[in-house]
C-alpha cells in the first residue's frame, strides 16, 4: 500500500529526490520545499523545451489548459512489483540534490549520482541539482556537462526561477519520453505482468486467454501514460478500449485498474470541478472498482499476494474524494470497511499505511477521537518494531493524539487554545463557580485511556531516547493518575523521572509539572508591627478612615464598598521581605524531595528565595515562601517554580484549585490534599499586590525584655518602650493612641517624647515611658489561678485582654526619589501595634466590705490617755501627737466618742505577702479646718496591715473625717434651682433630690479612699474596691456624711479641770464629761451641770429640750420604761432657742442618791422644723415632730464612803 493516495494519484509522475553526498538536513528540507513549488507544471510553460520528434500519440493534449503533475519522493522508493499495473508507481525521473560546499569533488558527485540512479531502472529522466557551487566548481562543472546542473549562488528568487526552468525542462523531457513509450508500445503489445498472474505453467486454454488479455492490459498501460502526460481525453479513449477487452476476457483486476484510470481521467478533464453529477458518477464507478478488485481475489494466491491492498486503496481514494462533513456517514462506512481489511493484510507496513490514512481521513472529517484511535493503532504498530526510529515515530504520532485524549503537554495547550486558558483563569477569579463550568474543565477526562496513552508515550519516549518527552509524560501520568497507580508503579514512575532527568542537562525546564501539588495556604497580611495604612493628606489624623477601624470584618454599612473591591488589596514595600504560605502535598508512596521551590513572579520585580522541602509518603506540609519586592509596580503570583526530579517546572495555583473543585464535584479521582490528611481549605485567591517605594519602619522593643510583664491585680508599673526606625526613610509624623481591651489600665504614655524626637532618622531610637496599672483578674481564670497559685505555678491570662499601643507613623509626604509616583498618591503611612503584654495574676481578693459604726459613751473608768475638752476647738483635739489616738476621738458634731469604720475583709490566695496601706486623700486645704481633716494623720498615720499568703485579714478604714461642717441645704439641693418652689413638699423633695446627690457624694467620698498594697520590694498597687465600698456605704451614707443638726454636750459647770487632773480617782471635783475620768461624781451631793447645745444648721432652731438620767448604761437608756430601771429623773420642757451655728448653755443640777453607773441623755423636739431638718431626720410626713437626741453620757457616781 502507498501512503497519501487519491483518485488523482494515477496522473502523477513519480520523481525520486535523492540527496547526493552529504546534504545537511535543514538544507535538504529547504531544497525540497523549493522543489515542491513545482509539483504542477503547466503544459503551456514547457512548450519551449518541447520538440516534436514524431507525430505525438497524445492527439488531444490540452496544451493551453493541461499540466503535468509530479510527486516527489524524498529518498526514493524501492521498485514496486505492481509498477506494470499502474504506471504511476514507476519512478519515472530521478533528481539528485547536492550541496556543493559539503561535496567539493564534483566528479565523485557525478559518480554517486550515477550509481544512485541505477537503482531506478524505470527512470526516464535524471538530473542532479548542485546548489551553492564555488567558483572553481562552477568552472569545473560547466565543462562536465551531462546531468549535473549547477545553481550558481544567487538570491532565492533567482534560484527559484532557475529551478523552475530546470523543472520545465524535466517535464518536457518526460513528455517526449512518454510519447516515445506510447508509440513503441502500441505495435509491440508490450507484455505487462503483475504478481497476481500465475507463475505456474499455463495450459493451452489459459495461454490463449492470456494473449487476449495482453491487448487490454496494453491499452490500459497506454491510458496510464496518457494520463501522466496530462492528456485525459486520450487516456479515456485507451481506457474505454481496455475496459471492453478486460471485461471480455474476465480480467477483473485490470478492469478495475482501467476503471480507476477512467475515473481519474474524468476528474482531470473536469479540472477539479465537482458537481453532484460528477460525484455520483465517480461514486458509482468507484464502487464498481472496489467490487472488481474484490472479485479478482484468487484464493490460491492469497498466501502470496492479494489484490486486497488495491481494494483498500480504492476505498481510501473514494473516502478521500467524498471526505466532507455532509457525507460523514458515507465516509465513515468506507473507512470502517477499510479498517476491517486491516487484519487481512499480510504486510505490517501496509497495515501501518492503512491506519495512517484512516486516521488522516477521520481527522479531515473532524472526528478527532476516531483519528486518535487509529493514530494510536499506528503507534502500536510502530512500537512493535524494535528500533529507535520507529519509537520516535510512535512518540510523535502519540503526541498528536494527546489533544483528543486530553493529556496534552502544557506547552501544546498554551499554543492550541488560549481561550481555554482564559476560561480557567476567569473561573478561578470568579470564586463561585457554576457546576457546569467546573465540569467543562474536566470534559472528556477518560482516565483509563489517558493513562494508557501517557504510558505509551513514556515507553516510546524512553525507547526513542527523548528524556524530556519521557519526563513530561511520566510527570503528567504521576500527577493526574496517582490514585490509579499502585505504589510500586508510582515508584517506577519516580525512577523514570529521575532517570530521564539524569540524561537532561541541569536547569532543563518542562511545561508539565510533576509532584508535589501546591496550593495557596494563606496570604499573610502584614504583621501588625508593619501594617500599612492609607494616608489621607487632607486630614490631621491622616490614618483615620483607613481599614480595620472596627472590630468586624463585615459591616452592613460598608456594603457598597465591599461590592466594588471584591479582591483584597495588598501592598508590599520595596526591599522589605514578604512571606506567603503554600501547602505542598505528596499523595504518592515514595519520599519526595523538592530540591527548591520558590514563588514564580512573571512581572520580574520580585526576588524569590528558594527553599528545599522533603515530603514523606502521603503527607502534606505548609511551607513559607519568601522574597523581596525589588521595584515599584504590581506583582502577580500565579504559582511556584519547582525544581524536583531534576527538572524545573511551573506549578500554577489555579490548576490545583480547579482540581480541588473537580474533586468536590466528583469529577476527579481524588483530592491530593485530603488523601494526605490535610483539612479542607477554602480557595484563596491571589490578591492584587502592588509594590510601593520604601517606607519608614518602626521597630518596638520593651526595655528590659519583651516577655509578658507579670503583675498582680491593681499593680502599678512603669514600662519603657524603645522605638527604632529600621527603615530607610525618616519618620516625619507619628501619633500614639490606645486600643484593645483594658485601655484604662494604661495610666499614661508620653506621646510628647515621641513627637519631640521627630523626624526620626533611619537608625535613630526613642524611648517612650508608659505607666500601667494591672486590671482585675479575669473571673473565669480566678479559680484556676487560685489553684495554680497554691500549686506554685504561674498562669498567664489570655492574650486578648491586653491593651495595645497604636503608633501611626509616616514618612515624608512627597517622594523625593521617584517623581513619577508623586502625582498619583502620597505614600502610605504605617501602623505599629505594640501589644503591652501584661499577665495579670490574682492579687488580694476582696471578700466583703461593711460599715461598722459604734458610739462609745464616755465610759468612766476607761482609761484614755488624752481626753479632750469639749471647749477645745475640734482641730486642737485632733492635733494630738500620738496618731493611734486619732482613731477614736470625740465627734465634734455629735459630742460623743463615735467610731465609724469601713471594714474590708481581704484574703490573700497568692504565694506572696502583701502589705496594705490605707490612705485618705483629702480635699484642698481651705476645707481642712472645717472638715476636721487631719490630712497628715491620714497620710502616714494608719499602720500597715500585713497579709500573709493564704491568709485573710480585715482592714479598717476610719470614716470620721467626712462630716460636713454645717447641715445646710447645699447638700440636698445642689444644682437644683427649683428649690424654693418645692420647699412645701418635703418628702418628695428629699426623695428626689437626695438620690443623685448622694451618689455623687459617695463617689466623691470613695475616690478619696485609696487602699494601696505593697508586695516585695518593687511591686505595689492599689485595690480596686470602689464598688464594694459603695455598696457598703449606700444605706448609711447620710449618717456618715452629715452632721446631726444639734450637738449636745454635758459638763460639770463648776470646775474646768485640767486634763491631767481628770485621771485622779479621788478628786472631788470630777468633771462629768464625755471623756470623763474615773469616779468623778459623788453621791449625796448636788452636782451642777451644764448641757451645751450646738446648732449645726444655718437656721435658728427653736426646741424643747429634755434631759434624762437613768441608772442604766448603754444605748437603751432613753426609750421605753424598762423594769430594770430603778432610779431615773427627767428634766423636760426646757424651751430654748439656738441661733445658727451657735451654742447655748443650759445649767442644771443633779443629786445622785445611790452611787453607780448612770446615763445622761439630752434630747429635744424641734419646733417648726424646716425641710432640711426633715430630710435629715428622714421623716415621712410634715406633721411628724422632729426628735433630736444626743449621745448618752456616762456618769459614774461614787459613794462618799
Amino acid at each position: 500500500m502507498e501512503p497519501d493516495v487519491s483518485i488523482e494519484t494515477s496522473s502523477m509522475i513519480r520523481v525520486a529526490v535523492l540527496p547526493i553526498g552529504h546534504v545537511p538536513p535543514v538544507l535538504l528540507r529547504d531544497y525540497q520545499s523549493m522543489l515542491l513549488r513545482h509539483q504542477t507544471i503547466p503544459l503551456s510553460a514547457i512548450s519551449s523545451f518541447y520538440t516534436e520528434h514524431q507525430k505525438s500519440p497524445f492527439s488531444n493534449q490540452p496544451w493551453d489548459s493541461g499540466s503535468l503533475r509530479f510527486k516527489f519522493i524524498v529518498g526514493g522508493a524501492p521498485p514496486s512489483p505492481w509498477e506494470d499495473f499502474q504506471s504511476n508507481r514507476k519512478t519515472l525521473a530521478v533528481i539528485g540534490i547536492c550541496h556543493c560546499p559539503s561535496s567539493p569533488d564534483l566528479d565523485s558527485v557525478i559518480d554517486q549520482f550515477d550509481s544512485a540512479r541505477r537503482a531506478y531502472a524505470s527512470a526516464l529522466v535524471d538530473r542532479c541539482f548542485a546548489f551553492c557551487p564555488g567558483d572553481s566548481q562552477l568552472e569545473d562543472g560547466s565543462k562536465k556537462g551531462g546531468n549535473l546542473m549547477l545553481f550558481p549562488p544567487a538570491d532565492r528568487a533567482t534560484q527559484e526561477f532557475h529551478l523552475q526552468t530546470m523543472m520545465q525542462d524535466i517535464a518536457a523531457s518526460l513528455l517526449m519520453e512518454f510519447e516515445k513509450w506510447v508509440l513503441k508500445a502500441e505495435p509491440a503489445g508490450t507484455i505487462v505482468k503483475t504478481p497476481l498472474d500465475s507463475q505456474a505453467t499455463l495450459n493451452s486454454e489459459e495461454v490463449i486467454k492470456a494473449k487476449k488479455r495482453r491487448l487490454g492490459r496494453a491499452q490500459k498501460t497506454m491510458g496510464d501514460y496518457c494520463l501522466l502526460a496530462g492528456s485525459p481525453v486520450d487516456a479515456n479513449a485507451h481506457y474505454t478500449t481496455a475496459l471492453e477487452l478486460a471485461r471480455l476476457t474476465g480480467d477483473f483486476f485490470w478492469y478495475a485498474g482501467a476503471l480507476e484510470g477512467n475515473v481519474c481521467a474524468l476528474l482531470i478533464d473536469r479540472m477539479g470541478e465537482k458537481d453532484s453529477v460528477v460525484e455520483d458518477e465517480v461514486r458509482f464507478r468507484y464502487s464498481s472498482v472496489i467490487t472488481h478488485y474484490r472479485k479478482s481475489f484468487i484464493q490460491e494466491h492469497a498466501q502470496r499476494v492479494s489484490p486486497l491492498t488495491f481494494e483498500l486503496e480504492a476505498t481510501l481514494k473514494m473516502a478521500r474524494f467524498l471526505c466532507r462533513r455532509e457525507l460523514a456517514k458515507e465516509v465513515v462506512g468506507y473507512l470502517t470497511n477499510a479498517a476491517d481489511g486491516a487484519k487481512s493484510l499480510i504486510d505490517a507496513s501496509d497495515r501501518l499505511v492503512l491506519y495512517v490514512e484512516i486516521a488522516r481521513l477521520y481527522g479531515t472529517l473532524g472526528y478527532q477521537r476516531k483519528a486518535a484511535f487509529f493514530s494510536r493503532q499506528v503507534a502500536q504498530l510502530y512500537l512493535q518494531q524494535d528500533n529507535r526510529l520507529a519509537a520516535i515515530s510512535a512518540m510523535q504520532v502519540l503526541a498528536m493524539t494527546t489533544r483528543a485524549y486530553r493529556v496534552q503537554s502544557r506547552a501544546s495547550i498554551a499554543e492550541d487554545s488560549p481561550s481555554k486558558k482564559e476560561v480557567g483563569s476567569s473561573l478561578a477569579e470568579g470564586g463561585k463557580m457554576l457546576h457546569q463550568s467546573v465540569v467543562s474543565l474536566f470534559e472528556s477526562q477518560w482516565s483509563t485511556l489517558q493513562m494508557v496513552v501517557l504510558r505509551e508515550i513514556l515507553l516510546s519516549a524512553v525507547r526513542a531516547g527523548d528524556p524530556l518527552a519521557a519526563w513530561g509524560a511520566a510527570a503528567r501520568l504521576l500527577r493526574s493518575y496517582y490514585p490509579l497507580i499502585t505504589p510500586a508503579g508510582q515508584n517506577g514512575l519516580a525512577s523514570a523521572l529521575s532517570n530521564s532527568a539524569d540524561r537532561l542537562p541541569s536547569g532543563t525546564r518542562c511545561a508539565d509539572p510533576a509532584l508535589p501539588f501546591i496550593r495557596l495556604y494563606s496570604f499573610p497580611m502584614h504583621p501588625s508591627q508593619m501594617d500599612i495604612v492609607k494616608r489621607n493628606p487632607a486630614r490631621e489624623d491622616w490614618w483615620a478612615g483607613a481599614a480595620n477601624t472596627g472590630p468586624f470584618i463585615y459591616t452592613p454599612f460598608s456594603k457598597g464598598d465591599a461590592n466594588t473591591n471584591t479582591k483584597q488589596e495588598l501592598i508590599w514595600i520595596v526591599g522589605e521581605p514578604v512571606q506567603i504560605l503554600v501547602e505542598l502535598a505528596n499523595p504518592c508512596g515514595f519520599d519526595l524531595r523538592v530540591d527548591s521551590i520558590y514563588l514564580s513572579v512573571p512581572s520580574g520585580n520580585f526576588d524569590a528565595f528558594p527553599v528545599t522541602v522533603n515530603l514523606p509518603p502521603n503527607s502534606s506540609k505548609v511551607v513559607t515562601l519568601s522574597g523581596i519586592p525589588t521595584s515599584v509596580g504590581t506583582v502577580t503570583i500565579p504559582g511556584c517554580t519547582v525544581h524536583c526530579f531534576g527538572v524545573i517546572t511551573e506549578h500554577l495555583f489555579k490548576d490545583v484549585d480547579n482540581l480541588l473543585l473537580g474533586a468536590t464535584q466528583g469529577l476527579v479521582l481524588s483530592d491530593p490534599f485530603r488523601c494526605c490528611g490535610s483539612a479542607r481549605l477554602k480557595i484563596i485567591s491571589v490578591p492584587n499586590i502592588s509594590v510601593v517605594p520604601p517606607l519608614p519602619l518602626l521597630v518596638s522593643r520593651v526595655v528590659g525584655g519583651d516577655g509578658a510583664i507579670i503583675l498582680h491585680e491593681g499593680e502599678i508599673h512603669d514600662l519603657w518602650i524603645s522605638l527604632a526606625n529600621a527603615g530607610t526613610v525618616p519618620v516625619e509624623q507619628a501619633h500614639v493612641s490606645l486600643s484593645g481591651k483594658n485601655q484604662d489600665s494604661v495610666i499614661s504614655f508620653a506621646s510628647e517624647t515621641l513627637n519631640s524626637a521627630l523626624p526620626l532618622r533611619p537608625g535613630a531610637e526613642v524611648t517612650l515611658p508608659v505607666t500601667l496599672r494591672a486590671w482585675r483578674h479575669v473571673l473565669a481564670d480566678a479559680d484556676t489561678a487560685g489553684r495554680s497559685g497554691s500549686g506554685g505555678t504561674v498562669r498567664h491570662s489570655k492574650d486578648g485582654s491586653n491593651p495595645t499601643l497604636l503608633i501611626h507613623y509616616a514618612g515624608p509626604l512627597t517622594n523625593i526619589g521617584d517623581p513619577a509616583t508623586n502625582k498619583s498618591a502620597v505614600p502610605p503611612g504605617r501602623r505599629l501595634v505594640v501589644p503591652l503584654q501584661i499577665c495579670v495574676l490574682q492579687g488580694l481578693s476582696f471578700v466583703k466590705a461593711r460599715l461598722l459604726s459604734m458610739e462609745i459613751p464616755a465610759q468612766v473608768g476607761q482609761n484614755l490617755p488624752k481626753p479632750v475638752h469639749i471647749e477645745d476647738s475640734p482641730t486642737e483635739a485632733l492635733s494630738s501627737p500620738t496618731k493611734m489616738d486619732g482613731l477614736v476621738k470625740i465627734d465634734p458634731f455629735r459630742g460623743s466618742w463615735g467610731l465609724r469604720f469601713l471594714e474590708l475583709e481581704l484574703s490573700n490566695p497568692t504565694d506572696v505577702v502583701f502589705e496594705i496601706t490605707v490612705s485618705v486623700q483629702l480635699e484642698n486645704s481651705s476645707h481642712d479646718h472645717r472638715l476636721s481633716g487631719d490630712r497628715d494623720a491620714a497620710e502616714y498615720g494608719y499602720p500597715k496591715t500585713r497579709i500573709d499568703r493564704d491568709c485573710s485579714a480585715r482592714v479598717l478604714i476610719p470614716l470620721e473625717h467626712f462630716k460636713l461642717p454645717v447641715l445646710d441645704d447645699s447638700f440636698f439641693v445642689k444644682d437644683n434651682p427649683a428649690d424654693g418652689a418645692n420647699s412645701g413638699r418635703n418628702s418628695s423633695f428629699s426623695e428626689r433630690n437626695t438620690k443623685a446627690e448622694l451618689n455623687a457624694s459617695i463617689k466623691n467620698l470613695i475616690s478619696k479612699i485609696k487602699v494601696r498594697w505593697q508586695s516585695g520590694r518593687n511591686s505595689s498597687g492599689e485595690l480596686n474596691i470602689k464598688d464594694a465600698i459603695q455598696a457598703a456605704l449606700q444605706t448609711s451614707v447620710m449618717d456618715v456624711l452629715l452632721p446631726d443638726p444639734l450637738t449636745f454636750c454635758f459638763r460639770l459647770s463648776r470646775y474646768a479641770l485640767e486634763p491631767e487632773n481628770s485621771s485622779s480617782h479621788n478628786s472631788p471635783n470630777v468633771q462629768v464629761h464625755s471623756a470623763a475620768a474615773k469616779g468623778s461624781v459623788l453621791a449625796h451631793e448636788m452636782t451642777p451641770m451644764e448641757v451645751v447645745v450646738r446648732n449645726n444648721t444655718k437656721e435658728k432652731i427653736k426646741m424643747s429640750l429634755s434631759i434624762t438620767c437613768r441608772d442604766v448604761a448603754g444605748e437603751n437608756c432613753v426609750e421605753g420604761t424598762k423594769a430594770t430601771v430603778l432610779c431615773s429623773g427627767v428634766l423636760s420642757g426646757i424651751t430654748v432657742e439656738v441661733p445658727s451655728l451657735q451654742e447655748i448653755k443650759h445649767s442644771f443640777s443633779l443629786y445622785f442618791l445611790v452611787p453607780g453607773e448612770y446615763t445622761l441623755v439630752a434630747a429635744s423636739v424641734i419646733d417648726d422644723a424646716n425641710d432640711i431638718l426633715r430630710a435629715r431626720a428622714r421623716t415621712k410626713s410634715s406633721d411628724e415632730p422632729i426628735f433630736c437626741r444626743g449621745p448618752p453620757y456616762h456618769v459614774r457616781v461614787v459613794g462618799t464612803a
Binding site: A328, T336, R369, K370
Partner: protein, 136 residues
C-alpha cells in the same frame, strides 16, 4: 452471554461515569483498554448520529475488527449508554439498554447524586451486571 462486552455510561461532558467489563471471556487488561479506546472513538459517530434520529436506541453504529458498538442515547441530558460486544443479539441489547436506563434514572433521582459525576453505587453495579447476564 456474550464472550466480550464492555459497558460504559458517558455523561454529556464525555466523561465516563460508569464502566464495566461484563463479558464472560477472561479479563485481560490490554483488551479492556482497547475496548475503552473503541468506545471512546465511537463517540464521534454517536455525536452526529444522535441528531439524525428520534430513536434512543441507535443500534450498532460502529465496529472495529469483530467488536461492535451499540449505543443508547438518553433524552434527558444526552447521556450515552454504550455497549461494546461481539454478539449480535439485537433484542437482548435493546432490553439491556432500556433496563439500565431505568436504573440510571433512579440514580439521577437520588438527591445526593450530582448529575455528571461518577456513579459509585455498588447497587447500581450489581444490577447492571445482573442485567448483562440476563440479556447479553
Amino acid at each position: 452471554m456474550a464472550t466480550t462486552a464492555c459497558f460504559v455510561i458517558v455523561s454529556r461532558n464525555d466523561i465516563p461515569i460508569y464502566e464495566a467489563e461484563v463479558g464472560s471471556a477472561a479479563k485481560r487488561e490490554d483488551a479492556a483498554q482497547l475496548h475503552q479506546f473503541i468506545l471512546h472513538a465511537a463517540l464521534d459517530i454517536v455525536q452526529d448520529l444522535a441528531w439524525t434520529t428520534s430513536a434512543m436506541y441507535l443500534k450498532a453504529i460502529d465496529r472495529f475488527n469483530d467488536l461492535v458498538v451499540s449505543v443508547y442515547v438518553t433524552a434527558d441530558i444526552h447521556t450515552r449508554l454504550m455497549l461494546l460486544h461481539d454478539s449480535r443479539n439485537d433484542d437482548g441489547i435493546k432490553s439491556f439498554f432500556q433496563e439500565v436506563h431505568e436504573l440510571y434514572i433512579k440514580t439521577l433521582l437520588n438527591p445526593l447524586y450530582l448529575p455528571g459525576s461518577r456513579i459509585t453505587s455498588s447497587h447500581f453495579d450489581t444490577k447492571v451486571r445482573a442485567l448483562a447476564r440476563k440479556y447479553l
